[in-house]
Symmetry: C2
Subunit: 200 residues, 2 copies
DNA sequence: AAACCGATTGACTGGTCAGTCAGCCGACGG
DNA sequence: CCGTCGGCTGACTGACCAGTCAATCGGTTT
């Protein structure tokens, strides 16, 4: 018989509740009891599954970031122009936000852009993303698709920075966030970075 | 007689100490006593000059950000190409970092990129910067210097996002930060955004 | 039916700090 | 020489909350 199998996966339930609460209140302002309440679970159970509040956030981040890393490396492995590869990366990130804005908000606001606190812990993983993007740029330069006078690391930071800033704009309602805006954004970041603002 | 005039401006001393401590430990991890100790001042004096720990950070941010706002609007007022105007903005931000990396670290890490906590308070000021940059782009479009199919707000976010990401890279030692790198960065952000990565 | 065991519960504790406040000190004026 | 006034001091308190733990529950095994 399925001897274990708790009726619902409480661990998952806690993680999902944490996404909602972190997104709503921010990590520092959420008490562990808020997570437990939101999950409809006893306070102590959070500590049964996670060794600390911090570990809950770490788990959320790592789960999703590894998907991103895979996606970037995957795009690179396809055969397409460097520009198309960057497009695929942008599309993946934008779609991630579109699919689960709360989770992406938590990841960006609490980890990626909080390099002083949590970001510190995850700097190696974050760095890996920049490096994979830089690799795409470097390859583009080798095959002559990109100019060579821009350092790939530098280009990668600009590209990722631009996307993250857009997500932040959506998150904090600085710019409109309709389905059409998402689609347009994918093309526009790539166009901006590859073609530039000046007319060709 | 100069009946007031404390020998040294203790208020300033507290603010400067706060920059160092916030930069070193981050806002959340610094106790008010850390600031007082660093400033060589009694705990209570911090509350004599500021109504809360938060107000100290707010003051640091507003002081600096108003300079940035002025600088952006000032560049726009000059008569130069849109590209030169963007160059001036990039140069100002990079020089700000170069001149006082600790202060810029605090502002970016604790406010600008912490839109959930402190950023919230300052969102209007932050937004103003984006809008001023967008204005430069819009003017560039009107005079035909920039393509018209990219929304100015969007371009502004990308541009600012790219710069901020670079600063973050320096702050967290993801990319080298020598004097030469700073100079190069000013040109490269502008080149990337205006000309794009693809060869012309 | 008894022992077992992991999942679950929530009251409790220990430590941490932000912010308060009662009073000290030294300059200046009367 | 005394009063007073603002800058300044730092011990103290009240609130808050992460993390602990002893107890309970419900299903499985022997």
């Amino acid at each position: 018989m399925a001897s274990k199998a708790p009726p619902i996966d409480k661990r998952r339930q806690i993680l999902d509740a944490a996404i909602r609460v972190f997104a709503r209140q921010g990590f520092h302002a959420t008490r562990v009891s808020d997570i437990a309440d939101e999950a409809g679970v006893a306070y102590g159970l959070v500590y049964h599954y996670f060794k600390s509040k911090e570990e809950v956030l770490n788990e959320l981040f790592s789960e999703r970031w590894s998907l991103l890393l895979t996606a970037i490396e995957e795009s690179d492995r396809q055969d397409g122009s460097p520009r198309e590869k960057l497009g695929a990366v942008a599309a993946f990130i934008v779609d991630s936000y579109r699919h689960d804005p709360e989770l992406m908000k938590v990841i960006i606001v609490e980890v990626t852009r909080a390099a002083n606190s949590f970001g510190r812990t995850h700097l190696p993983e974050i760095r890996r993303a920049y490096e994979s993007i830089a690799k795409i740029v470097a390859e583009g330069q080798e095959q002559g698709a990109f100019r060579r006078d821009v350092d790939p690391t530098f280009a990668s930071m600009s590209f990722y920075g631009a996307i993250e800033q857009l997500l932040s704009g959506w998150i904090f309602e600085l710019i409109p966030a309709s389905a059409a805006d998402f689609e347009q954004a994918k093309d526009l970041v790539v166009a901006t970075i590859c073609d530039g603002l000046e007319p060709r």
